[in-house]
């Protein structure tokens, strides 16, 4: 048992670090979420550099522009890249979820047309699954695709779409047959986000920010040649995308036990036994999360594939984040209500994350859905009763 790289891993790490050092400035401090045209330009440039250096998608086969490397090499690359000021955000969804789906289900022409441009950062992709009435139950979506000659005509609305505002393409899950049970009437398409019938509107979030989008489709025409998978096989295609989502979900943004320990020390709270015991609880959870990732990485490095047990991460971190922020605020007493970076201790991280945390407990699978996943796929417990199982979608109650 050790935390060291194998010689091969160490060699790869050195190579990666050298490449990063040559091409990127080191990170000064954990900054806010960058946005804007300028940032997008830098991100595209970095993606191109990365791709040319052979570090863009390490586990992909060389045939599609990857490195043909191991998952562990990808982990090492991510570790190293994260200590540099690398503008990576805009490509995570596209390269992590959409393009793997195109590779799995697209035609040779699709692959030729879309993969290289995504890989070198020329085109950005987004994922269009969730709808206002189809969140946890993604397959309950209503966006219609109706066949018209060689085209499909799309009408409907998607929601919580990350990066829609700067995406060039998206993978779009639609309902093509409402007369069959819900999972069976879905079909997946590639959609051009610059089509005039596509309208992107930012969502005003409870936290005040506007990072996600709604996307409206009005008579958008998609040629049948841009279909991914068979008509009616959209759910099968979507499962591949979603499986990749689980691997792409990142760490917890916001204060953890070390920040609140630092804050407690400043506030003279380290003599308070109640605070000390809470700190111990947080430490153990934080370590539990971090060390469980090490176990997963070890499995990766031994050639195993990580399973649904990764769901553990978000359950632990999102709830802990909410709890720590709440405590961080209450320890400031009435002053803790102040949500102004200039005035509040530690640049108001407790306050800003307090408003983010509820979203984190929902995004990418609610606490409840993740516990179901653990119960069913890890422990082998029975699925919930599915009353909609064999009912035609258009006969189904939907509130």
């Amino acid at each position: 048992m050790d935390f060291n790289d194998t010689p091969e891993e160490a060699a790869f790490r050195a190579e990666a670090r050298a490449f990063l050092k040559a091409n990127l400035p080191e990170k000064k401090q954990a900054g806010g979420r960058e946005r804007g045209e300028e940032f997008l330009k830098r991100a595209k440039a970095w993606q191109k550099t990365k791709a040319q250096g052979g570090f863009a998608q390490i586990t992909w086969p060389k045939a599609v522009g990857g490195r043909g490397g191991t998952p562990m090499q990808q982990v090492i690359w991510n570790q190293e890249e994260s200590s540099f000021a690398a503008p990576t955000g805009p490509f995570q969804i596209g390269l992590g979820m959409c393009i793997p789906t195109v590779i799995a289900f697209g035609s040779d022409e699709h692959k030729k047309r879309y993969v290289p441009k995504a890989l070198i950062g020329e085109e950005i992709w987004c994922q269009l699954f969730s709808e206002p009435a189809a969140g946890s139950d993604v397959a309950g979506l209503k966006t219609r695709a109706v066949r018209d000659g060689d085209d499909w005509v799309i009408n409907g609305q998607k929601v919580w779409t990350t990066g829609a505002q700067f995406s060039d393409y998206g993978i779009l899950l639609t309902r093509t047959d409402p007369s069959v049970p819900k999972h069976k009437g879905l079909t997946m398409f590639i959609v051009n986000m610059k089509d005039p019938g596509v309208e992107v509107r930012p969502i005003h979030q409870a936290s005040g920010g506007r990072e996600f989008n709604e996307v409206y489709f009005t008579d958008v025409r998609i040629p049948d040649s841009d279909r991914l998978g068979e008509v009616g096989a959209g759910w099968k295609v979507a499962l591949v995308t979603l499986m990749n989502e689980r691997l792409a979900v990142g760490g917890s943004p916001g204060p953890d036990y070390d920040e609140i320990m630092k804050f407690g020390t400043e506030m003279g709270l380290m003599s308070d036994q109640a605070f000390r015991e809470k700190l111990a609880d947080w430490y153990i959870q934080a370590q539990g999360y971090k060390l469980t990732k090490f176990r997963t990485q070890t499995a990766l490095s031994r050639g195993d594939t990580p399973g649904p047990e990764n769901s553990i991460g978000k359950i632990l971190t999102a709830n802990q984040l909410q709890d720590i922020c709440n405590s961080g605020i209450e320890l400031q007493d009435h002053y803790g209500l102040i949500n102004d970076e200039e005035l509040a201790p530690m640049k108001a991280i407790f306050q800003s994350s307090f408003m983010w945390a509820p979203g984190l407990r929902i995004a990418g699978g609610t606490d409840e859905i993740l516990k179901n996943i653990i119960a069913e796929r890890v422990l082998g417990l029975p699925q919930d009763v599915r009353v909609d199982k064999d009912i035609a979608f258009d006969q189904m109650k939907s509130g």
Binding site: D333, L337, I338, V387
Partner: protein, 371 residues
């Protein structure tokens, strides 16, 4: 055994609920939320004044209705339920109650009728920075006539006409009444987690003030004021928590996933049941606080502390799980969940965090055991 409000008191509550459900919809609350220039909802405030609520517990001789603290508890619950964006607590629980508890006859005559009429807005200014204010070591000072120092944050500090300011004097603490419309008072609006209730920083430079209670010995008066306010705020919290659970329950009945209302899944059912149980615990403790408040019982310190801690916990749980029950929708600005989440946090720290009140509770129980 009569551990409930009377029919008259319940009628008062029903009337208040009806009034607020018309005049204080969340659309009205959002006007204050969305408009940085709007510190409170003025027409609602005027309406509340006209209804006589501000003078509920002010004796008739000072222009009030002369009802009791139980009636005020009933109204507090409705104010909390409606998330009313008005300086009710600062004016009524703080300023009016401080005057009733420790004000001179002249002070009472000068201000209580004005409060009842809605012409005076109060503010309680104690915090001086992160952490609970240490009343034995305040930086703000009073020398018998002039007040100097800075208080931040002060709820309703930007719209109040009068503030109660805690200040060091003679090595102890004084509670100083200050007319805020004078030179030497500088107000700066402060951005907080709950923009439906305004906060300010108040700087005092040689400002005239007069004490409520004795010089340097206002400690017990302040403690009592806090205990009383804690009970009233516990009712606001209980009202808010109830409504958050109701909101989540209604949504869970109407939102479908996998062909069924999400409220039919035990994860949601039991979450909501847990919320309901916490709300009952909060309500029962709040009632005990109300009893102690209205009878001026010796049990007030522990009753107030228990009410405050239980209600803070209930509103916190209800407001965060209300968002969770709503899923993605609950995290949008347009859906009202975040209004409750924000208000729950305000009310949990407004007169000291639950942690401080847990300590007060146990101290009170120790004192009782030692007596």
């Amino acid at each position: 055994m009569n551990f409930d409000f009377s029919e008259d008191q319940k009628f008062l509550g029903d009337q208040a609920r009806k009034y607020l459900s018309e005049q204080c919809t969340t659309a009205e609350v959002r006007k204050v939320l969305n408009d940085d220039g709007m510190a409170c909802h003025e027409s609602l405030w005027n309406g509340i004044a006209e209804m006589g609520w501000l003078g509920t517990a002010i004796p008739e001789e000072y222009g009030g209705l002369g009802l009791g603290m139980l009636e005020l508890c009933v109204l507090a619950e409705e104010i909390g339920r409606a998330l009313a964006p008005v300086p009710f607590s600062s004016t009524v629980y703080m300023l009016a109650e401080a005057l009733k508890l420790g004000g001179s006859e002249a002070q009472k005559q000068a201000l209580l009728p004005e409060i009842a009429a809605g012409k005076v807005i109060g503010a309680y200014a104690s915090s001086e920075g992160p952490g609970a204010p240490d009343l034995s070591a305040l930086k703000t000072t009073f020398d018998g006539s002039k007040l100097n120092g800075t208080k931040i944050p002060v709820l309703d500090g930007d719209i109040a006409t009068h503030a109660l300011v805690t200040a060091a004097e003679n090595g102890g603490v004084s509670l100083v009444l200050v007319d805020l419309n004078q030179a030497g008072v500088k107000r700066t609006v402060v951005k907080t987690l709950d923009p439906t209730r305004s906060h300010a920083e108040l700087e005092f430079t040689d400002v005239a003030g007069e004490r409520i209670g004795e010089a340097g010995r206002a400690g017990p008066l302040i403690d009592k004021l806090m205990d009383r306010a804690a009970v009233l705020i516990a009712f606001e919290q209980t009202g808010g928590a109830d409504r958050a659970v109701e909101m989540a329950t209604d949504y869970a009945k109407s939102r479908y996933a996998f062909g069924r209302p999400i409220g039919g899944y035990q994860a949601i059912k039991h979450k909501l049941a847990d919320g309901w149980v916490k709300n009952q615990v909060a309500r029962s403790n709040a009632y005990y606080g109300a009893w102690a408040l209205s009878t001026d019982a010796g049990e007030l310190p522990e009753a107030a502390a228990a009410a405050r801690v239980a209600a803070s916990e209930a509103f916190w749980f209800a407001s965060k799980e209300n968002i969770q029950t709503h899923g993605g929708m609950g995290f949008t600005w347009e859906v009202d969940c975040h209004l409750f989440y924000r208000r729950a946090k305000l009310l949990a720290v407004q007169v000291g965090s639950p942690k401080i009140w847990k300590e007060k509770l146990i101290s009170a129980l120790e004192n009782k055991a030692a007596a």
